[in-house]
Symmetry: C2
Subunit: 481 residues, 2 copies
């Protein structure tokens, strides 16, 4: 053996190269189990290298279990169950096994489906200034460890903000910070336990049922009427936890009236294990009248779990959400979930804390309200002036970043989608979000205008007109008295 | 009615104040169900305010469902099931219900338990410079949406780094970025499915069994021998997925020899649903010989799931970890988990991508290796010179940031802990991490030196001497031949 040419060792140290040569011979079977290796001295002499190099190489091979030493007798190759290729010749990666290429830009010229906030309105200058301050001033805080529920600084800033702007009285201790509502919702399901059955709004935000499914949590779809989740269906279901967005239902935009809210709270009061998850997402974007106070603020019995996110109100790539737990669930969370480390970096928590407590956040919300309202008005006016006007009806345009456009059409929702694809636009339909295909949901478009730029509006309307041109033609041909 | 004094409205607009007064009267029962409200004109005149203000207040009350209008007849109070306190007088928060005060500094003067990296060695200047560059140059990327598996830029930087430094061939597509190993592990359990039974190392890293429990996943503890998880116990268990840290086992520090690695790989090969989760945490901190190549690099059958984190190698408050999925599991992940948004903010992903691809990360690792090695040597030398030397034995000191100190003591582990508490130090014992109290684990201390400052070492040893002073005295009293 030992005809290893030191010429090929490249940048590796002598001992490292020798180690690799011997390992390769063992793995490839050239050196077989039980075979004795040359003594350190012999090998050093043969290869004209130092004994120490050989010693180090042998030590590494022993450490990794390729060889073993027998006192007085020398070193022997271990019995590996079978030869395997060495690291260098490890299996080449087979990309063909993989589907789904890296994310590519959507080919659609317009996307009414993506409910994304217009990123360019994010107060980036302010945000990065705060980041810089945090970077230069809060060194220790950035590097310190973060409690399971997030930094106190952020939780207390939130607590103060929620009291002032949402009428919510929550101790910072009740607030749990997490990397996105989805994450918090997963944890919450674990706290609620495996016997939980969730009542989901139908139509509603699909993602929560997907998460429940992936967590093995059972749920019921409860139909909605104009006031929200139907109590009669709820009472007939075996659900013990409700998931609702009462201030701005997705996707219909319905505001749940006080009567229905009180009915749901009463339902929750009837049994100890009953709770209400209030998703307050986008609730501050209301263009007519006051912002609707959350259910949490009128809940006397600690039955409401409040959830909200900054990923929508600031920008999607900032993953910070929070939930407020009623004391009993909080204790359970502390007992069963507090071993999970907080998922949001200290750095961004501190930046957000300053952003809120220095008043930038509420200013940003007010600004976005104006911007979205203008966009909405642009779209609504364009619609009124378009041929779509006479065959359609607008619903729930006073909140959030979308409204419903119900079209009297002879097309099925499937046909509408197909025609939209022909026009290379992505359309969202109410029926996408409902399981029982009620007549009310058919032919109802969800117009998300958040990401729409003013100069796109005209084009947008034209394209939708194209989709429904037959219906428009029919409507026009009708004699008008 | 209508004796609302406009003096008290404070900063609120007239309509808003009127809305609140009427709502309060309805909720308190002063205005009862069915009662008719004054006409807009009358009320406007009585209160000497504009009709528009009354209209707006009524509109808001209608929107929120407190009143309803009957065409031609006016507005009437709705029948709420019961009066509830209004927002302003919502239930006061009861802090006494809450346990657990906000995180306070530990009273211990020394903590051998916390396995935390010494934060002050974090290359903060470099990191914040990169952050600033990202802030000023990568505006669009920071605000853009992030794919479920993380930004391609970070995944490809990782892919290149892993190939160069760990001999791992992984396509960026196989890498999933997440906010901490705990998070990724939760998701992974979901992908593996509810019939999964995990084989955990005993002793081992407790957190993974806690996570499994909270996810409802079953696991078996498999005893370790000096080479790692025992194959015979594994084969007798019904586990189909192994969780191991072969390159640097926690807490023993054992390096799994190639033989055992091949045996585990062979075990996995025997059935399609079998997998190995390789936790490669701290594997690069090896002070004698080469870094041990991971099992992933010798796995021919796509059976190994590779996991690692930056929270330990950089700083705990940066929550970025990753896992590499074999193609089959990757497809399943894409099918069932890709609806979950990535939990790490784009901003920190970009910063880390630059930190890795510009070579700062590997430089940082090498630097930490030196620093930890120096700390280790300090502690080892101090031990050798101390009275503890003659009653103790050091194990597995060549990797990671801790070693084992086995003390020949008459004290039980319980007594050791008690005595340590008296001395106000936090001690970790091997038996804390094992379920079967084998003789080997008794009297074995885990000395985490990562967070220990040089000037603390002397004190540290003295205190441990105090804990075992009786044993030391006994040893000294023995006649030495």
């Amino acid at each position: 053996m030992a005809n290893y040419s030191m010429k090929n060792r490249g940048s590796r140290t002598i001992y490292e190269y020798l180690y690799e040569c011997i390992r390769e011979d063992i793995l490839s079977g050239k050196l077989h189990a039980g075979e004795q290796l040359a003594s350190k001295r012999t090998l050093a002499r043969d290869l004209n290298i130092s004994v120490t190099s050989v010693e180090n190489a042998y030590a590494q091979l022993v450490l990794e279990g390729y060889i073993h030493g027998e006192t007085g007798r020398g070193f022997f190759v271990n019995d590996l169950i079978e030869p395997v290729p060495v690291r260098e010749s490890a299996r080449p990666f087979k990309p063909n096994i993989l589907r789904q290429p890296e994310a590519t830009a959507p080919e659609h010229i317009l996307d009414f489906k993506a409910n994304r906030s217009s990123v360019k309105n994010f107060p980036f200058a302010t945000w990065s200034r705060l980041m810089r301050n945090v970077l230069s001033e809060r060194n220790a805080a950035i590097l310190g460890t973060v409690p399971y529920n997030g930094l106190f600084e952020l939780r207390s800033a939130l607590s103060a903000y929620l009291y002032r702007h949402r009428g919510i009285e929550a101790d910072p201790e009740q607030i749990i910070i997490g990397a996105g509502t989805e994450y918090l919702y997963s944890r919450l399901l674990q706290v609620l336990g495996f016997n939980t059955i969730i009542a989901m709004e139908d139509p509603g935000y699909k993602k929560f049922s997907e998460i429940s499914a992936s967590q093995g949590t059972v749920w019921d779809y409860i139909p909605m009427d104009d006031e929200g989740m139907r109590i009669d269906y709820l009472k007939n279901s075996s659900a013990n936890v409700i998931h609702v967005s009462p201030s701005n239902h997705f996707p219909t935009g319905t505001v749940m009236p006080i009567t229905r809210r009180l009915q749901l709270l009463q339902w929750a009061r009837e049994k100890p294990e009953r709770y209400i998850i209030e998703d307050d997402y986008d609730s501050e974007l209301r263009y007519a009248g006051r912002v609707i106070p959350p259910m949490y603020a009128i809940d006397e019995d600690a039955k409401v779990i409040y959830m909200n996110t900054f990923s929508k109100s600031l920008v999607p790539s900032i993953r910070i959400s929070y939930m407020i737990l009623p004391p009993y669930l909080l204790e359970r969370y502390q007992d069963t979930m507090s071993f999970y480390s907080c998922t949001v970096s200290a750095f961004e928590q501190l930046t957000l804390a300053h952003f809120i407590s220095e008043g930038y956040f509420s200013r940003h919300i007010n600004r976005m309200k104006q911007i979205y309202k203008q966009k909405r008005d642009l779209v609504l006016n364009a619609l009124k002036e378009s041929d779509l006007h006479q065959i359609s009806e607008i619903r729930e345009a006073n909140a959030g970043t979308h409204f419903l456009l119900h079209v009297n059409t002879s097309l099925t929702d499937k046909q509408i989608k197909a025609k939209a694809e022909e026009q290379r636009i992505e359309l969202a339909l109410l029926s996408d979000y409902t399981t029982h295909q009620g007549i009310k949901s058919m032919g109802t478009l969800i117009i998300n205008y958040a990401g729409l730029e003013p100069d796109q509006v005209g084009l947008a309307i034209e394209i939708i007109e194209q989709v429904f041109k037959d219906d428009i033609a029919k409507a026009k041909s009708k004699p008008t008295f």
